[in-house]
């Protein structure tokens, strides 16, 4: 009865209880790691949100001195970096962790200890990045860190170094997790779960892992080259030594554009789960959804230079990248029509997850349309570095990713905690967020077209920017308040929420076939699947209702044992890289390498048998 892929069955080499701090530190259970990702990422998300509110407060009126230009630079850089690498990506990772194994009918991920390692490396990376605040040296050159703002000459402090090392550590976490989830999806599907029967969330997650695997090595090299320039005297991006600052832009966006799809594809997956369930209809155009996702990912590697039209690449390059970018509108449009087709004629259940999912579709369309606008180089030259761009990417990242991830949080919270969230507070959250979001970001279109530049800490009175900036700041306060409602909803539900049944929404996928929250081994009996939407099929066969699954004893089910080596190895990994923060701190690097090696060897030879 052992179905854990690692065959790491029944090990008690590093025993630990099921409760208490130690059990969380040593856990290799994908569900617990998912919760760790979720809680950590949400805290970082709130931090990023706080940074945004400070930025908005500064811009609420002209000529304010609430923030110094230096502090403002640090805040917008850390806001962007935090939201992307510590907010949206790990919030997606929470859902990867918790729901990929459940949706494909597996007992865990392919490599449970590697999964724990990924989480701890992510945590340490986030801490290193934010430790920069303690040194009053938070990164201050914008989240894409253009050369030569980042050269030692123009940025002599540790600000850029914290950014390099923090991102390098986070990249290791992402790559380790990507290998793990890729293998999990390919290899651990339950019998009958063919590729073209996988839930759409699993499909979009799979594509995301491929993007991570192929895009992160590029930024890894770019960050290494930048570090060498700053700390070892090379001239890769320094013109005085023959280097080319524009090469940084190419390398960064070769990673950066696929990264955009890394942020949005999981959101597409979440919404593609929710819309069918609350419309009581199968997903419209399943195969078209799969292939348009693949096509978006493929094109995502060929359009990076549309971020660089203003560098003057010449008419040929501009044309190619412009056409490629416009081409992406086709598969994306296919997806949007399929979502509408899914809801069309359905028996729509107006529950909170559905509100957020529908909000996502509407907001993402707006962000997509402005995206097509700056696919045109002449238009882009007018819009670049203005608030129009800020409006665009907040409509796709907040209106897109965050709306969808919030939808996912409401959808899956009952499964993860065994408690229902309040519907009335949920809908209040939605309307406040919807209102606050649009008040904050819609006026940025106008301000951008009127010439307000991004990344400038203030503006003068009389330029015509006052009114809409005041509206935006008011909107951002409403937006911030909406998340307070969310937190209250979560805390109330955890204390006294209604107990969630196994399947509160009449779901279609396997995670709803087991108790809420799932038992440690997920499935007492390995499920077999013979179609898409397996649970709907089962319910139809049973005549409309399924009995509540019983909580069973796990006797005889072998699970991977807890281990403290992942956190030790992760600590060594982070320490090694921190050694490169200030030129070279040799003892830190050597100690870090020693701890990492110790961790890897102990991990590899952790006894597998009694």
């Amino acid at each position: 009865m052992s179905t854990i892929a690692m065959g790491h069955a029944g090990t008690e080499a590093v025993p630990a209880g099921k409760k208490g701090l130690w059990s969380w530190i040593t856990t290799v259970d994908h569900k617990r790691i998912g919760i760790l990702y979720g809680v950590t990422a949400f805290l970082f998300f709130l931090l990023g949100g706080l940074e945004a509110l400070l930025i908005r407060w500064q811009l609420g009126a002209p000529d304010k001195t609430f923030l110094s230009p230096e502090a403002y630079n640090q805040l917008f850089t850390m806001h962007g970096t935090t939201m992307i690498f510590l907010g949206v990506m790990p919030l997606s990772a929470m859902f990867f962790n918790y729901f990929i194994p459940l949706q494909i009918g597996a007992r865990d991920v392919a490599f449970p200890r590697l999964n724990a390692y990924s989480y701890w490396v992510f945590l340490f990376g986030g801490l290193v990045l934010n430790a920069s605040f303690l040194f009053n040296a938070a990164p201050d050159m914008g989240w894409f860190a253009y050369a030569n703002l980042t050269s030692k000459q123009f940025s002599p402090g540790l600000n850029v170094d914290f950014w390099i090392i923090g991102l390098q550590i986070l990249g290791i976490a992402s790559l380790a997790a990507a290998v793990n989830f890729f293998v999990t999806i390919i290899n651990l599907r339950a019998p009958g779960m063919k590729m073209m029967r996988m839930p759409m969330f699993v499909w979009m997650s799979l594509i995301t892992q491929v993007l991570l695997l192929l895009a992160f090595p590029i930024i890894t090299v770019a960050l290494v080259l930048l570090m060498l320039d700053r700390n070892f005297g090379t001239h890769f991006f320094v013109p005085s030594g023959g280097g080319d600052p524009v090469l940084w832009q190419h390398l960064f966006w070769l990673f950066g554009h696929p990264e955009v799809y890394i942020l949005i594809l999981p959101a597409f997956g979440v919404v593609s789960e929710i819309l069918p369930v609350f419309s009581r209809k199968p997903l419209f155009g399943y195969a078209a959804m799969v292939f348009s996702g693949c096509f978006i990912a493929f094109l995502g590697f060929g359009v990076w230079s549309h971020h660089m039209f203003s560098t003057g690449m010449g008419p040929m390059a501009d044309t190619v990248f412009s056409l490629g970018t416009m081409l992406i509108a086709i598969p994306t449009g296919v997806k949007i029509f399929n979502w509408i087709g899914t809801v069309w004629g359905g028996s729509i259940q107006y529950k909170t997850p559905m509100y957020f999912a529908l909000g996502f579709v509407a907001m993402f369309i707006i962000g997509g349309l402005s995206g097509v606008m700056h696919a045109s180089p002449p238009a882009d030259l007018q819009q670049t570095d203005s608030y129009f761009i800020v409006a665009h990417f907040h409509y796709v990242l907040f209106g897109g990713s965050i709306f969808a991830l919030t939808a996912g949080a409401y959808y899956w919270f009952p499964k993860m905690t065994g408690r229902m969230l309040s519907e009335s507070l949920g809908k209040l959250h939605f309307w406040l967020m919807f209102l606050g979001f649009n008040l904050t970001f819609a006026p940025m279109h106008i301000l951008g077209l009127n010439g307000m530049p991004r990344r400038v800490y203030t503006y003068s009175a009389g330029m015509g920017f006052e009114f809409w900036n005041a509206v935006e700041t008011a909107g951002s306060l409403i937006l911030g308040f909406s998340f307070l409602v969310f937190i209250i909803n979560i805390l109330k539900s955890l204390r006294s929420g209604a107990v969630a049944p196994a399947d509160p929404w009449h779901g279609a996928t396997l995670e709803w076939s087991i108790p809420s929250p799932p038992q440690e081994w997920n499935f007492a009996v390995e499920p077999t699947v013979d179609g898409r939407d397996p649970l709907w099929e089962e319910r139809r066969k049973a005549g409309g209702t399924l009995p509540e699954p019983a909580r069973v004893s796990g006797a005889g089910i072998h699970l991977p044992s807890p281990s403290y080596w992942p956190i030790i190895t992760a600590f060594g990994t982070a320490m090694t890289l921190v050694g490169f923060l200030m030129h070279v701190t040799l003892w830190v690097i050597l100690a870090g390498v020693a701890i990492t090696m110790l961790g890897i060897f102990s991990w590899a030879f952790e006894p597998a048998d009694h």
Binding site: G7, N180, V183, I186, P217, F236, G241, L251, F605
Partner: protein, 212 residues
């Protein structure tokens, strides 16, 4: 990595592929982009160095604090020999794996030792080469050629070194009799990584050393 695996019975996977083998292939796929970026970086800056020494041409360069004429840096015969040794090591590890799969301990230990020795030779050659180039005037920050060359080949050398440590670990297991045929996958995975490191060098050798 030599994960557990005392289990002769591997649970069946959806594809029939071993999970750890699929993982190393996935990792290798990702590593391809890592080296592709480093190689691109080398090629982008080819011919953009402001001063010598240069790979194939005689050039003006700073030597012992004064401008002088520098000879071309590369010495093809030595690196060709190193390349051959590395390629042969890929062949040797296949023979070792064959020994492991058929329970032929002598064959396993003999050829695996040969592989490790070849790997060590290659790393040694690189250390010698770097020192030699340095004395010929090519420091790490001398010019773009030096920086991009040392960064690319240095990362490759680090990969070779890690591969040697990995294979040596498996060799110790083999000598202690802990690599029976049913565990030969532990060697196969290390070998896949080793082949990949070789293949990367097969790209680097012509692109960096032979192409003018």
């Amino acid at each position: 990595m030599a994960h557990d695996t005392a289990h002769a019975m591997h649970p069946p996977t959806a594809t029939g592929l071993d999970t750890r083998k699929l993982a190393i292939w996935t990792f290798i796929g990702s590593e391809c982009l890592f080296f592709a970026t480093l190689i691109s970086n080398y090629l982008v800056y080819k011919g953009h160095s402001l001063v010598g020494p240069l790979p194939h041409e005689t050039s003006q360069c700073m030597l012992h604090g004064q401008m002088s004429t520098c000879e071309p840096i590369f010495e093809i015969p030595l690196v060709t020999f190193g390349t051959a040794v590395l390629l042969f090591s890929s062949f040797f590890v296949v023979l070792a794996l064959n020994g492991a799969q058929h329970g032929n301990r002598k064959k396993l230990i003999g050829w695996l030792s040969a592989t490790v020795v070849c790997g060590l030779f290659f790393v040694g050659m690189q250390v010698y080469e770097f020192t030699h180039f340095y004395h010929k005037g090519l420091g790490y920050t001398t010019n773009l050629f030096g920086s991009s060359f040392y960064t690319l080949t240095g990362f490759h050398g680090t990969h070779v070194t890690l591969g040697v440590i990995w294979l040596a670990t498996v060799l110790v297991l083999a000598i202690r009799g802990k690599l029976p045929p049913e565990k030969s996958l532990n060697l196969e995975i290390a070998a896949l990584y080793w082949h990949f490191v070789d293949v990367v060098w097969i790209v680097i050798f012509p692109v960096v050393y032979l192409m003018r």
